[in-house]
């Protein structure tokens, strides 16, 4: 669809209460089995952040709030109301920023292993530096079961190039300050809707401990920890993940 004069890829599927799904740094996820399951109950609206999935990054885009304004426009354009806002990792950060700015069209927020705030001191590495990690170490932190990780050496070139482009886009949105907005904690009081965190127990990119601290920053927020899952519980434990979503938004 056209937003801000740009063509934005948006996947829509299922019917029911609208669920705006914001993917993480790995790229679009609306084609995954967990999303099909959610589509049985909700109308999924899943935009691809510009720069991901082979799309272009607009010349002036370089921060998460560029995405926030894009999706505020999307909510208006589609005139969506009573929306469940769901964000994964950097998409979770985007969701939280959006909710602090304007939540009139939203009724609930679900955050899956989100980044976006700093909870430790200036010398604590709250969020693993994904751009500085050797591939095998990154996989260990991302996955509970590393056998599920994509293997670049075996991937066809076009898929690998998409992965490389996604990584560039992730860098563009999150490089500095790294994966967070220092001002965000001071704005979280504006979030009044029910907010639920879902966290992979083995996540090494942002740990459960980080999640619990993040959760405490939002009034009344609750959290489900999913066992045997890392940074992407929707990939490693899709059933438990969908259950957790239905439980809080069913």
């Amino acid at each position: 669809m056209k937003l801000q004069g740009k063509e934005i890829d948006v996947v829509r599927k299922g019917s029911g209460q609208p669920l705006l799904l914001l993917h993480g740094g790995g790229g679009p996820i609306a084609a995954m089995p967990f999303a099909d399951k959610l589509a049985e109950k909700f109308e999924i609206i899943a935009p691809t952040h510009p720069g991901f999935g082979g799309s272009k990054i607009p010349d002036h885009f370089n921060r998460v709030d560029d995405l926030v304004f894009l999706y505020l426009d999307l909510l208006d354009e589609l005139d969506l109301n009573d929306v469940i806002l769901m964000g994964f990792s950097m998409g979770g950060w985007t969701a939280v920023e959006l909710a602090t700015m304007n939540s009139t069209r939203l009724s609930k927020m679900i955050l899956v292993d989100p980044v976006g705030v700093k909870v430790g001191g200036r010398e604590d590495r709250d969020i693993a530096d994904v751009f500085a990690l050797p591939g095998e170490k990154l996989v260990e932190l991302m996955f509970h079961d590393v056998s599920l990780a994509p293997k670049p050496a075996d991937m066809p070139d076009d898929q690998l190039q998409l992965m490389a482009a996604n990584r560039i886009a992730l860098g563009v949105y999150t490089w500095d300050p790294y994966m967070h907005n220092p001002k965000l904690p001071h704005r979280l009081h504006r979030i009044k809707m029910p907010t639920h965190f879902i966290w992979g127990e083995s996540d090494g990119i942002v740990t459960v401990d980080y999640g619990q601290k993040y959760c405490k920053l939002i009034d009344g927020a609750t959290m489900t920890v999913i066992e045997n899952a890392g940074h992407s519980p929707q990939v490693e434990q899709p059933e438990a993940f969908v259950d957790a979503v239905f439980k809080c938004a069913g």
Partner: protein, 409 residues
């Protein structure tokens, strides 16, 4: 033909390379003994001062968080040399502009050294290599665009003399720009920019800056130089003079072949030691997705072979080594094939090459090679050289793979 002598100021006293993952970015500085570093810095400065005596141009550069190059602030080295030398021109190649958050400060530093040295600065600007992204904490995405915006701001800072001007660009903001001192050379010191492709050569040629190419060898030199020459011709309606182009290779000259080979093998440390894993050579946005994907796949790594052979590197035009006669013939062949250039940049010291050996090679170059190169280039017509080069068949059997991609920036 002008000749420039270069060393990267390495710290070669490292444990076996199997004990560390990378020589850049995360190699603990516990391995850097301050006493040893002190001696090394003074040795390297002495070698540069020897250039002043011998009559060679001085070239230096900077890198960060690495044992391959202990100069994290080239302008400081340049400042020392401005006082300790009196004749050589001082080429800094270069200032890594995208990684400097204050281009005006760069303009000030260069003007300062230019004035102290009585106008001997030749000022290079570079996009910088990928390993610098982590060290500078700067996203390399659109690094060229950042470099050119910083370049524009610096040029204006050097050439504006009637009080402050305003600059509010895409990347850099500075509302009261009015540098003191202004450069000694008017309107500004000569500007050099490194080029990695025909495309990146275009703006360099349009500005009439010197375009420098590092270690592109036979496989790539013509495409880059041709890109420059064509853009120059298109933009200015005349052929680019030879002094607008520069080439850097490793160079060692001995009195006999055995001596030369021994010295050249020591220089190869520069390539052999450059152990860099993908997480540092592939920061997001430095390479286009297609290249980045190949690094992720493990097809290419740092771009520098860690097991280069002297024979290969010589065949590729990255190393010139031999007796004075042989080196002259090697450079002449490469020069003709490339379509000609006016500056030869020589890495003449690296690794464990001793000062004595480095000096011997420098002196042999000066007395026995340079005069012939000057003679060769003296009356050369750029248009004619270019035509001749185009007519030469592509030199095959010297496929570089990805080697050199990062070094040309």
């Amino acid at each position: 033909m002008k000749s420039w002598w270069f060393t990267e100021d390495c710290y070669p006293h490292l444990p076996d390379e199997s004990t560390y993952r990378s020589i850049r970015v995360d190699l603990p500085n516990a391995l850097c003994e301050p006493e040893v570093a002190h001696d090394l810095y003074n040795r390297y400065l002495d070698l540069w001062c020897a250039c002043d005596e011998i009559g060679l141009g001085i070239m230096l550069n900077e890198h960060h968080q690495t044992a391959t190059c202990m100069v994290p602030a080239a302008p400081i080295m340049l400042g020392i040399l401005a006082r300790q030398t009196s004749k050589s021109r001082l080429l800094i190649l270069g200032n890594p502009l995208p990684n400097r958050n204050q281009p005006v400060r760069v303009a000030e530093e260069m003007a300062l050294v230019d004035v102290i040295s009585k106008g001997r600065v030749e000022c290079g600007f570079v996009r910088s290599v990928p390993y610098e992204a982590a060290a500078a904490n700067i996203l390399p995405y659109k690094g060229s665009e950042r470099m050119w915006e910083a370049h524009d701001l610096i040029m204006k800072a050097w050439t504006t003399h009637d009080g402050p001007f305003n600059f509010e660009g895409k990347y850099y903001h500075h509302r009261q720009v009015n540098i003191w001192p202004r450069p000694y050379q008017q309107p500004h010191p000569p500007v050099w920019i490194t080029m990695g492709s025909a495309g990146s050569a275009v703006p360099v040629a349009q500005h009439k800056h010197v375009g420098a190419v590092f270690l592109a060898g036979y496989p790539r030199i013509r495409s880059v130089f041709d890109g420059y020459r064509q853009s120059y011709l298109d933009a200015h309606g005349e052929h680019a003079p030879l002094d607008r182009l520069a080439y850097l290779g490793l160079c060692y000259i001995g009195e006999n072949e055995r001596e030369a080979e021994e010295g050249a093998r020591k220089l190869l440390w520069y390539m052999e030691a450059n152990k860099v894993p993908p997480e540092w050579s592939n920061p997001p946005g430095y390479h286009p997705p297609a290249v980045s994907a190949q690094v992720m796949k493990g097809v290419t790594g740092s771009g520098v072979p860690t097991n280069p052979t002297l024979e290969n590197q010589m065949a590729r035009g990255n190393v010139f080594a031999g007796t004075p006669d042989q080196v002259f013939e090697q450079i002449k062949a490469f020069w003709e094939y490339s379509g000609g250039f006016g500056h030869l940049l020589m890495m003449g010291q690296a690794g464990f090459l001793s000062d004595e050996d480095a000096l011997k090679s420098m002196k042999l170059y000066k007395s026995e090679v340079e005069p012939r190169l000057i003679e060769l280039a003296k009356n050369a017509d750029p248009a004619e050289l270019w035509e001749k080069s185009k007519a030469m068949p592509v030199k095959d059997g010297v496929d570089l793979g990805n080697f050199g991609v990062e070094f040309v920036r």
